[in-house]
């Protein structure tokens, strides 16, 4: 494990043992980004929401996402697995609570046992060595990201809440049927209810992706990403954060922050940055009437 360590990182932000972590070293030449490249995403934890004011004085709601010991645990390649991907692990766990098979899996990678494992499909040029830690500066302020997480569970819900059905009138003789489905089909033909008919049932707890959320702020000391808007799910939930797929190429971020760190940010570059960096909204002043 010590052999994976390439540079001493003083001022540990996470406060946890440094032996198990390694970075993309400066010796390893970072691959060059092409328009077909796809970098890895990260696993973050949704910590809550707050607000900030941008340079125009507009109040912006933001969600705080924290990266907790986010490391590459396994590299999946074309020859062995049939596709190229990185298995990312997040949040260390005490080994006594981890099953033996999983302990072996993490030992092979030389990382601490993790709570959450997620695969991110990448292009071969974006592959990172096992043990590489992903930090908040993997994303730059001003870029767009997609956030995926299970939605908040709503329990057993009726069709009106679950599918937006209209229900029946409140008055004019309607008896005991104000919020029901209504009709579920035709008559003798087809003589059945089709599969997938929208009905009452359990709502929520499914994965949802919110696309093209702007990264408003990066905190290098606490490994925080502030994204504009809301992210699905409850606080302390694991959230998959990726570069926005609908904003490829030059549209992903403002021109002066491009290119994005590829395949991920160098540790020396992170050390040189100030703790917090805030994105500008850009454009023209919204409080000034445009001619």
């Amino acid at each position: 494990m010590a052999s994976l360590l390439s540079s001493v990182r003083a001022g540990l932000r996470t406060g946890l043992p440094v032996e198990c972590r390694s970075f993309v070293t400066s010796a390893t030449q970072p691959a060059t980004w092409t328009h077909k490249s796809l970098r890895t995403g990260v696993i973050a934890r949704k910590k809550g929401m707050t607000a900030m004011w941008d340079e125009w004085g507009v109040r912006i709601p933001v969600t705080v996402l924290q990266l907790e010991q986010c490391q590459v645990v396994q590299v999946l390649n074309e020859e062995t697995h049939g596709y190229t991907a990185l298995q990312i692990g997040s949040t260390d766990r005490t080994p006594k609570n981890v099953t033996m098979p999983m302990l072996g899996h993490f030992a092979k990678a030389g990382v601490e046992p993790k709570r959450k494992l997620v695969e991110f499909e990448v292009t071969p040029d974006a592959v990172l060595p096992v043990g590489t830690e992903l930090v908040a500066s993997h994303f730059v302020p001003g870029q767009f990201v997609d956030c995926s997480a299970p939605t908040m569970g709503k329990g057993f819900q009726g069709a009106m809440k679950r599918h937006g059905f209209g229900g029946q009138p409140a008055t004019h003789g309607t008896s005991l049927t104000h919020r029901s489905l209504g009709s579920t089909g035709q008559r003798k033909d087809p003589g059945k209810v089709f599969k997938g008919k929208k009905m009452a049932g359990r709502m929520g707890g499914e994965q949802a992706t919110v696309q093209s959320l702007k990264v408003m702020k990066i905190d290098n000391d606490l490994n925080l990403i502030y994204v504009k808007g809301a992210v699905p799910g409850v606080d302390d939930q694991f959230v998959k954060v990726r570069d926005a797929i609908k904003k490829r190429g030059d549209k992903i971020a403002p021109a002066d922050v491009l290119p994005l760190p590829f395949p991920t940010i160098q540790p020396e570059a992170v050390k040189a940055m100030p703790r917090e960096l805030v994105a500008k909204t850009g454009g023209s002043d919204p409080y000034v009437m445009q001619e």
């Binding site: 004011w53 606490l222 100030p274």
Partner: protein, 190 residues
Amino acid sequence: MFSFTRTLGARLSGVTARFASTATNAAKPTYKAPASVIVPTQFKPNTKGQGLMQLIAKEEVKRMGADGRSKLFNKSHPDCLRPGDVVLVETLNSMSADKTSTFVGVLIAMDRRGLHSNFTVRNVVLKVGVEMKYMLYSPMIKSVRIMKRGEGFRRAKLFYLRDNPGRAFRLEGLVKQDKAAQAKKAAKSA
């Protein structure tokens, strides 16, 4: 009374304290913020004794309240706002120009919510009741001045003034007095 300066984002020289690398200084990368990125006032995070969200909220209050506007909501401070005070709020029309708008009225509600603290000011303008809600830490607020202390208000929220205003919104005299006082002050200092 305070007035708010719009200069944000001074880069702390304490950034150099984070360079503790054992590598030589020969090819140390430096960071220059691009035009689309702001480097705000930096603080040293202290997570001891409080959760993450409490910490970042406190830091943001410190950053946005650097001009001392937190005292307006601090009960132990003599300059604290109280429901019933007649206040004059000066707001910037936009961040790109220095033009301001002024609103005078009775403070009818104060909500203490940390960074999201806000207050509501009510006045009757041209026979129309107008309420303005201001976020305390908004950069668009230039100054908040107490023109007259409220007397005899025994509630935290004075929403009853919407139906029973009494003489609470007869503020023209106060405004005139205040304008004269301000003009005198300006003439004196000039």
